[in-house]
């Protein structure tokens, strides 16, 4: 039996795809742009420049908060988080400390493989600005400010995860939700979605293996950065569980620190000791007045959300009687789910349509109307031209003497080959059972 239970929390960063940056009017789409071509005094951190928040970015962070079942705060503000690093020209990042836009959420994720549902707490969702991009070459570090000031949403979960599989499942669901909201590409390779798990191990003191109270959490936390795929998150967590178990077995405590993930060596490595929150010397951003939201406005954010993947799954099962695993596959992208719904609204055969989409029997590039016509053609009983069938069967037997003798020698599965040949010659216009029957009658 394991002596330790992993306690894992997550920080996820998502870049919003607004047109403008978070606090200035520079363009936010920095991907593949020439270095330092999308800058201004604000995002370069020049003295005296004044930040003004992007309205849409705030609406979108609230949308994300509402989709994660958070409470949207009626009062919110920005704070300065101080640290010195070349990616941050001002010496501080505009972020949020004690009044984030959204708090106390929950995400329920269904696992279609074992039909279980698990739910994970969301601590907070806050708005901040991305930093400049650093490249290291030779003896230098090079700074490109195109990314500086791009709207960045930070989602923090409760330490509710106890294994790497649940983390991966949750992150995949989160990515789907964000994409449903159409506020970010949430593309890990491009860096518009980044995740940092923090991992520690809790010793099991007796057979009550539940960890619920914060006071019982381990006295250290290891954060892993630089992970750019779901697979690597899983590997990094599994590596850390093993590494920390070994340290604890020796009677020591793992160092509280930030580690990086090396995807070539499949290892985490020490980066730096983590600053305490007090070292960031947070204080309210004096250049940005606070935000006060009316109740009506906040209610409207929740109402305006699209139907989310989990809600769609529940509806497909309840109303369409579609298998849960199929409902899961169909809802992984909003576009696919909406296509499925359109086809079903015409054809009224949900499970069959689901099968045809998932097995790619009919192309989803067709219009929903065309798709339905194909559904009808495929599902309607075959009218077989008996005379043509009889001729085709005879010809197929004559043309394939080797296969026929194999069949007679006991290789029963070669019959399928003959059925296939007949069907091909009939261009699919024959009932497969009838073909089979005719072949058997003629071979014997």
């Amino acid at each position: 039996m394991n002596k330790y239970i992993p306690v894992i929390g997550l920080e996820i960063h998502v870049e919003l795809k607004t047109k403008s940056k978070m606090f200035c009017q520079c363009r936010a789409d920095y991907f593949a742009k020439k270095p330092n071509t999308q800058t201004c005094p604000v995002c370069l951190g020049l003295p005296g420049a004044l930040p003004v928040p992007n309205k849409k970015a705030i609406e979108w962070v609230q949308k994300i908060g509402a989709a994660l079942d958070c409470k949207l705060r009626p009062h919110s503000k920005f704070d300065r988080k101080h640290y010195n690093y070349p990616d941050l020209a001002k010496g501080y990042q505009i972020s949020q400390y004690d009044e984030p836009f959204a708090v106390n959420g929950r995400v329920t994720v269904c696992n279609p493989r074992n039909k279980t549902k698990k739910s994970f707490g969301i601590t907070r969702v806050h708005m901040e600005e991305d930093t400049a991009k650093l490249t290291h070459r030779g003896s230098g570090t090079y700074v490109n400010f195109n990314r500086s000031g791009v709207p960045l949403v930070e989602i923090v979960t409760e330490p509710d995860f106890h294994n790497a599989d649940d983390v991966k499942m949750f992150l995949e669901e989160l990515q789907v939700i964000i994409r449903y909201l159409d506020v970010s590409d949430a593309d890990m390779e491009k860096g518009s979605m980044r995740m940092e798990p923090n991992i520690s191990l809790q010793k099991i003191t007796n057979d009550r293996s539940q960890i619920t109270k914060k006071s019982e959490l381990p006295n250290y936390k290891v954060e892993v950065k630089n992970i750019n795929s779901f697979r690597f998150v899983k590997q990094a967590i599994e590596y850390e569980i093993k590494r920390q178990t070994e340290i604890l077995e020796k009677g020591k405590t793992p160092v509280q620190e930030t580690r990086g993930w090396d995807d070539k060596k499949n290892k985490t490595y020490s980066q730096r000791s983590k600053e305490e929150a007090q070292d960031y010397r947070y204080f309210p951003e004096p250049d940005i007045p606070p935000f006060i939201f009316e109740e009506n406005y906040l209610d409207e954010v929740g109402v305006s959300l699209p139907e989310l993947p989990q809600e769609k799954i529940d509806r497909y099962i309840a109303d369409y009687k579609v298998r849960e695993s199929d409902a899961f596959v169909l809802t992984r992208s909003r576009k696919l789910a909406e296509y499925f719904e359109k086809v079903v609204s015409i054809s009224k055969k949900p499970q069959q349509v689901a099968n045809l989409i998932i097995n790619k029997k009919i192309s989803i590039d067709l219009t929903p109307e065309k798709f339905c016509q194909k559904v009808e053609a495929l599902l309607s009983p075959k009218v077989t031209d008996r005379k043509m069938l009889s001729e085709t069967v005879k010809k197929t037997i004559v043309d394939n003497p080797k296969v026929v003798s194999d069949y007679k020698a006991g290789k029963k599965n070669v019959l399928m080959f003959l059925v296939g040949q007949v069907m091909k010659a009939m261009k699919g216009r024959a009932d497969a059972n009838l073909v089979r029957q005719q072949l058997l009658e003629n071979i014997l």
Partner: protein
Amino acid sequence: MGKKILSREEILHLAGLAKLHLSDEEINKYQGQLDETINYIKNLEELDTSKVVPTNSVVDLKNVTFEDGAENKKGLTVGESLSNTKETEKNEFAVKRIM
């Protein structure tokens, strides 16, 4: 001089956060100056502030924003953007390698 409020270690920690390298003489100097600052702010303790709401902003404004996609009137060219720095390479700001 009375008892120091900030220890030598605390001064060094703060200097570290600000990326300052202090000589022994400077440590003493800063220790004195920061103690003086803290003592000055401590004067507030003479007042009853229990009913005072913390001041997050001194201006009487709220919800100040701009519309996404608004025209960028303050954008800089690469040349302007790099004009205040000594070291550049291929249109990027260059600093001593940090990793």
